[in-house]
Symmetry: C2
Subunit: 190 residues, 2 copies
DNA sequence: ACAAAAAGTAAAATTTAATATACCAATTCA
DNA sequence: TGAATTGGTATATTAAATTTTACTTTTTGT
């Protein structure tokens, strides 16, 4: 479960500009209007939109807040459609017979999805991830017990659990049939 | 599928500080070392960590890049464990008999998870979301056809699809049994 | 206890983001 | 056509982020 460098230094300003322009156009308001609305000078907005600026966090916040979008939406890059099918033999993260996790899509740094298989009576201990990581686990079929912070939580089909992943946690399949899981690892959770 | 204001203006600097300190402590390096490593002055880092700063995007980037984490990880807030069970009657987003989506967890602004039910032969047309939104749909059971950008993609059990959600897209259940879905809406995808 | 490293403080200098104002060109629209 | 809006340019000013240097306090480790 890796994190890759999203962009180079020169691109940071470029993408926030592209995104801002997109969001603003989407709302159909002019630079001047937005400027007055959020209390940032017109020129500042203009420079940011053209990627020729190095805005301050407070300015970034004012923009995001004024447009009613999360800050991170301003810093994102897009791509398009892709599909991950069950059979697709992708690289396995942990293939110790008992627990198998396969990445669903090429990681884009901020969010990662995995499909997981936990064998009957199987048990898997996960080390703590980086601080700031949030983990979402959903049972697609079977049963699962998640132990985190010393507490065990039992999940059935279609149940989901969310917990901070920056501490050790244990997955157990208490049943006698295979458990299919769905993981979302988020490196950003406001 | 809403977006809520994550924090107030005064808090922006506070959280980036808390997170930075956490990440740095986690890597076990001192302020001075990190400062030289990423080319930012010690005092600047110190002020940021104490939440008494309004850092520039380039500084934020240098930090994130130096720590090998996505920028957004620096701007995130944490909470703890919570579970969403199938029966939990939560507020429904769209309850027109055919398609039902229920939020799995209280939205934290950056990422949203939903459990979805699509009736046999059911069809649901979703309006375009904000630009910058990425959508991940996983079939937990049943079948699904997703139409986006004029192309139809068929999914079976445990298949997943990812696409830009800033355009209209249609979900169809071509089978004669209920389809259970899992949605991840991400407002940040590097 | 001692030395070393790390965190924190203080003040002045430098760099630069942000503002303000006025002006220009292209576009929209009545 | 002509007024108004919008994106963009130019310049000078202000406010503030960042750096540098040096010094103090706290923590860590042998």
């Amino acid at each position: 479960m890796n994190i890759e460098k999203p962009w180079g230094e020169g691109d940071v300003g470029k993408y926030i500009g592209i995104n801002l322009r997109q969001f603003r156009a989407n709302k159909g308001i002019s630079i001047d209007v937005l400027a007055k609305q959020i209390g940032v000078s017109k020129l500042t907005l203009l420079n940011i939109e053209r990627g020729e600026a190095n805005p301050t966090l407070s300015v970034i916040w004012k923009i995001a807040n004024g447009l009613k979008i999360p800050i991170t939406a301003l810093l994102s890059i897009e791509s398009d459609v892709s599909i991950s099918r069950k059979k697709d033999g992708m690289k396995l993260i942990s293939s110790n017979d008992v627990f198998i996790a396969e990445p669903l899509f090429r990681s884009h740094g901020l969010i990662e999805l995995y499909r997981g298989y936990l064998q009957p009576r199987g048990e898997y201990l996960s080390e703590a991830h980086q601080p700031g990581v949030m983990e979402f686990v959903t049972v697609m079929s079977g049963q699962l017990t998640v132990e985190v912070d010393g507490e065990a939580h039992h999940l059935d089909d279609y149940d989901s659990i969310r917990f901070k992943g920056d501490r050790p946690h244990k997955y157990t399949n208490p049943s006698s049939s295979l458990t299919m899981l769905h993981f979302v690892i988020s490196y950003n959770n406001l």
